[in-house]
Subunit: 261 residues, 2 copies
Amino acid sequence: MPRYVCCCRYDGTAYRGFQVQVEENTVCRVLQDALEQLFRVRPEIKGCSRTDSGVHAYAFCFSFLCEKEIDPKRLPAALNTFLPPDVAVVQASFAPEDFHPRYDCLGKEYVYRVLNRRLRDPFYEKKALLWPGKLDEKMLNRAARAFVGEKDFTSFCGSNGKVKEDMVREITEFSVTRKGDEIFFRVRGTGFLYHMVRIMVGTLLQIAQGVYPEDSVEEMLQAKDRRVAGMTAPAHGLYLNRVFYDPVLLSAAEEGAPWLK
Amino acid sequence: MPRYVCCCRYDGTAYRGFQVQVEENTVCRVLQDALEQLFRVRPEIKGCSRTDSGVHAYAFCFSFLCEKEIDPKRLPAALNTFLPPDVAVVQASFAPEDFHPRYDCLGKEYVYRVLNRRLRDPFYEKKALLWPGKLDEKMLNRAARAFVGEKDFTSFCGSNGKVKEDMVREITEFSVTRKGDEIFFRVRGTGFLYHMVRIMVGTLLQIAQGVYPEDSVEEMLQAKDRRVAGMTAPAHGLYLNRVFYDPVLLSAAEEGAPWLK
């Protein structure tokens, strides 16, 4: 039975994340609905990540088995006709039958987008966090350096996190850049805990506010206690931007958002 | 009685344009609702332009008289709390009592945004025209050159246009630029006829398709007949980007969208 792997983009505003247990409006469900319309069967979908309610994705990979065969090149356009405007498949290919978009993922890149101005802008509504306070991207970069490496991220894991055993994750890159009045926090790593990016960004924003000193991240990590780290930044600024697999599987998954190019 | 002039931004998707006669959902109406909540009186609003249903604005100027005095610096944030998420006031100041945002306007800049790719993108939904066909921006620039100058634009005026007498308008700038898979048509002029920008852009897109030869604009202008020009491009790609007044009145009105910077 052929296994398909697809890369999709979605505006997460209307969704309770990609996949949840209970029957709710999820991206996974609208994808299954579209697949059912196209294939007349409803395949199970495996996603590359859980994403929270309201979080967006520029590249989200999902995979499914389906006995019906269709040229993967034609699959995105065919599926898109059955998908709502806020979800679109951008690439598809065949994958090995045992491929799993989550376990076979080599790394992910998240981008947290902040609109650093006093007044809100309708074109950034639910697409970036409005933050009127002063943000010095050089200082933020210095403060974020302590996140990079293989570390225990217990202090940066939301209390609803299900992973209780191994809290060690590796962050390979953390950069903060400015483009006009937009600030981008870009975090790349091999794995992430529940709410981890949002707590890291929330902590950095509070460092900018003076709530914590610039060099406090190291100490927070060592404390291994969620209560010592900062706030969880809101979901609507967060984008799953790129997902990395063995080369040639899905080039679109490594494309990312246009704002950072 | 003090006259206020404000610059606002709006995502036009949900609106029947800025101002229409009948009772419908217009940007003007939500602004009046907000003013009424703030001032306890409902001032009449004069806008800098009619804009069509679904057209967006990065800088739209409006003005009103109101006996209640408030520091214009505080007005945008105060009004924004009463405005829906898709409309925001970004600047305000006092203006001479006889100021009219439409008649005192020295020029306007529209931007038409095209997403030139095969598959749709959720983040451009209703914000740009999806155009899968080949677009050569150099050729489009050459073809658009014929629009520049003081000309009779009868062929590029929608048939619902109310102006019947003087169809002469002056286009001071027309440029087509590419940024990745986005194409921006930027048109600056002292005045515009009904649907004029959308018909100019639609015609250029059809020139790119080969429907009309590259050098056909000149002939179309000379014909003074709407039927010889091309299609009216859809509203959702169009932005009123900048509005020009006597300097110092409203600097925000000259700011424009961040994508073109």
